[in-house]
Amino acid sequence: MQHQIEFGPAFAWLKVQLAPNETIQAEAGAMVRHTPGLQIDTRLNAGRNAGIGAKIKAFFAAFARKFLGGETMFVNDFHGPQGGEVVLAPGTSGQIMHQVLDGQRKLFIQASAYLASTGSVDTKLRFGGLKSMFGGEGLVLQECTGQGDVWINSYGGISEVPINGTFVVDTGHIVAFEGNNLNFKVRSAGSGGGGFSLKSFLFSGEGLVCEFSGTGRVWIQSRNLNALVSWITPFLR
């Protein structure tokens, strides 16, 4: 499978050339165009090998992903006997990045950042703790494991930051991070590792941050969708 990421960082899209019978899984609604001869199979976004007994469980898992994770409830598999080309794009402006999972690597991605994947890559919903649910700044993460490629979309440009020690990122600017050797905790921006400070939470304008410790990479987006929403809201009537 070959792929190109074009038109980044502002309006990146993912172009994939599928070999005969190769499959790429994409979030619902991401398709821009594809060549004839490719077939789209739609299924619940809840793991590949759900048996009959697991179907109901899969439904609730997909339901939870949609309403808690900001993800789509269904995903589409693109494939064809002759192969072909498919182009995928996310809803917001921004960049796309590519990561390879080898079965050992664990990647946490911000819930709405998933665009597409191949192979046995699967995502599981994770929460950044109850505190993260405050003020619409919730950090909802997906744990991404398995073997294959994964493509992740951002709102804005993406910076890669290698961490060896500790590092702090606003929750709204997190795209993804490596989960194997990085610990993370969500706290208010002003509490500096101590307790939760209501004053700084309410008045610093920074809301919640994620503090990382250990070693690994974190990817940061240069814009925050929550900030855009807060900016637009007062103009609505």
């Binding site: 074009e6 502002a10 269904f74 609505l236």
Partner: protein, 231 residues
């Protein structure tokens, strides 16, 4: 008349240089700046139309084409002049030079064209069954440049054969390409669930412009984060 587009692709601005007494017609609201000698008239979209006929054509375009009702003409009086245009969304703009062929343009992508280009609403669109998907095309024919805007970057494809394109990503295509509206997947229910709904099957030979973002997808993404409307 000569166009060039600055600040591509994110915040494109089109500059239209006019020779003395040349005229460009553009969608109301698109103008950013102009030289002092430009005379602006709110007018019918095509020259030689007037009165009731023009009024009905305008209403038809507004109701069907998702376009603004008014079109302004900008004329450089006696001297050269220039007008600049910008769309409301971030994204690229592109100029297609018509040489006698017909270009079908998605309603909200049309920005400007000179009098030598005839613009009309082709009732070939559809109202989608799901999620408010709808599609209307304007047809542009004649000779001269047509300025269009897109949401995101623009890919130019010279098609010879077939391609499936999402309705929210099409910008324009020449009439050598025939299109049909089809379900994204085999089944009706799965087409709905797939989030792709209805797509365009483009067949034939010609040029096609595709945008890298879908305005409705963006609206839906931001919209579900907004507080509910009060009334």
């Amino acid at each position: 008349m000569e166009f060039h587009v600055l600040y591509r692709p994110a915040h494109s601005l089109a500059v239209c240089n006019l020779n003395p007494n040349e005229t460009i017609r553009a969608e109301a609201g698109a103008m950013v700046s102009m030289t002092r000698n430009i005379n602006v008239v709110a007018a019918a979209k095509n020259p030689g139309e007037g009165g009731l006929k023009s009024l009905f054509k305008g209403l038809k375009r507004m109701a069907l084409g998702g376009e603004s009702f008014f079109t302004n003409t900008y004329t450089a009086m006696n001297q050269p002049g220039h007008v600049t245009f910008a769309p409301s969304l971030t994204g690229d703009m592109i100029v297609h030079n018509l040489q006698g062929e017909t270009l079908l343009i998605q309603g909200s992508s049309y920005v400007a064209a000179p009098d030598s280009v005839t613009i009309d609403t082709k009732f070939q669109g559809f109202k989608g069954l799901f999620s408010g998907e709808s599609l209307f095309f304007l047809s542009a024919s004649g000779h001269g440049p047509v300025l269009m805007n897109a949401f995101g970057a623009i890919e130019t494809i010279d098609l010879n054969g077939e391609m499936i394109v999402d309705t929210g990503h099409i910008v324009a295509f020449t009439s050598g390409i025939k299109y049909s509206v089809v379900k994204a997947t085999k089944g009706l229910i799965s087409s709905f669930l797939s989030g792709e709904g209805l797509v365009l099957r483009m067949q034939g030979q010609g040029r096609m412009y595709v945008q890298s973002r879908n305005p409705s997808e963006f609206g839906a993404t931001v919209g579900r984060m907004l507080p509910p409307r009060e009334n």
